[in-house]
Amino acid sequence: MPDTAWHIIEVVVMLLLPLLMAGGLTVVERRLLGQLQDRYGPNRVGVMGEMQVLADAVKLLGKEDWIPPFADRPVFVAAPAIILMSVLASFAVIPLTSGFAVADLNVGLLFFLAMSSLGVYSVALAGWSSRSKYPLLGGLRAAAQLLGYEVFMGMSLLGVVMMAGSFDLSTIVEGQRGLWYVGPQFVGFVVFFIAGLAETRRTPFDLPEAESELVAGYHAEYSAMKFGIFYVGEYLGITLVSALMTVLFFGGWLGPILPGWTWFLLKTSILILVVIVVRAALPRVRYDQLMSFGWKVMLPLTLINLLVTAAVILAT
């Protein structure tokens, strides 16, 4: 059955590509942060340090896979698996190029939101099941932060949905032939970018794992590959959010001359680099600032954006 074979090719591409990107990102981020902070970063393994990811993987495999005797064993083991599964499943709806998506779902955007909500379970359960104080605090913080930012993450996308008239990601990309949605939906883009940083627990909002106060937050008790999965999961999350921003605001695969997937990968890579530079540029916010910023500024802003977009659409 050629259909089945094609499905399998799509699935393998959409699983391996994000994993490879996330693996490569672990090195790219450390190198880039090093350059931005006027130091070298990892430059010993391979020519420019790009083989560091292999060295890291081998090292993680060689570490003791310690499950704390005081921890809740099944939950402790399941937590990293949940984050990997939920993020990888989200990639199923991302259209790499015209007609190339594992599942061209007509509610693709809702599927993404549902899967990103599942990620909350992973960090909250990891923190709780560790039965240790720092992870517990990190897990609680992560849960409150992710829930708070989840609310307006979903609503910030409604402007795009209204303009395209669909939740289907391919239709949304096709709707941007004349003008990328980042123009008319600039407020929505900014809100989604900030929410995306908070959802992937990136630096201005990396309170759940703030090294200076919580050591490593929710994964303080994790070691070996379980820690590795959390680590890769964070970069998978960044890749996912960047890919989604490309699809929703930057015209996905649309672009002149080059084939669609190169444009998609190019735009996604640029957005990922922006996320990394943000980490180098901004300090960590305080937790009360984080929560009140989300609820008091971003949520009203999203609601206003929603109503204004609706009014403009109806007026034209």
């Binding site: 699935v11 409150a144 609706a310």
Partner: protein, 122 residues
């Protein structure tokens, strides 16, 4: 190609199955290769070297619970707005007015929570 719906289910099942298989594979390889060593000093929660005083299952700030309740409220609201956003063009201006009223009612509760200090953390 059986039917579009079944096709979608198969695609998602494939994606989830391979994703789960990868997670299990990673954990299993790590479990096989990793060295093991026992030491009673390792068998306690990490607290920067200080001997842990009490169990980590301590009562937590009620604020986290309030945030969870607010999340349920606002996410339900979002769920209500999704279908509205899709069919806005067909429904026309009356839908916009109705949504405006809906959001104003919601904002009453929102400002109540604000005044009650739900968004303030000390």
């Amino acid at each position: 190609m059986v039917s579009p719906t079944i096709d979608l289910v198969i695609e998602f099942a494939l994606m989830l199955a391979i994703g789960a298989a990868m997670a299990i594979l990673f954990l299993f390889i790590s479990h096989l290769l990793a060295p093991k060593s026992k030491n009673p000093n390792k068998d306690q929660p990490y607290e920067c070297g200080v001997v842990p005083e009490s169990d980590a299952r301590a009562p937590m700030n009620v604020h986290y619970y309030l945030v969870a309740v607010l999340f349920v409220l606002f996410d339900l609201e979002a769920v209500f707005i999704y279908p509205w956003a899709i069919s806005l063009r067909e429904l026309g201006t009356s839908a916009l007015v109705e949504m405006f009223v809906f959001i104003v009612i919601l904002l009453v509760g929102y400002f109540y929570a604000w005044k009650k200090g739900v968004f303030e953390w000390e």
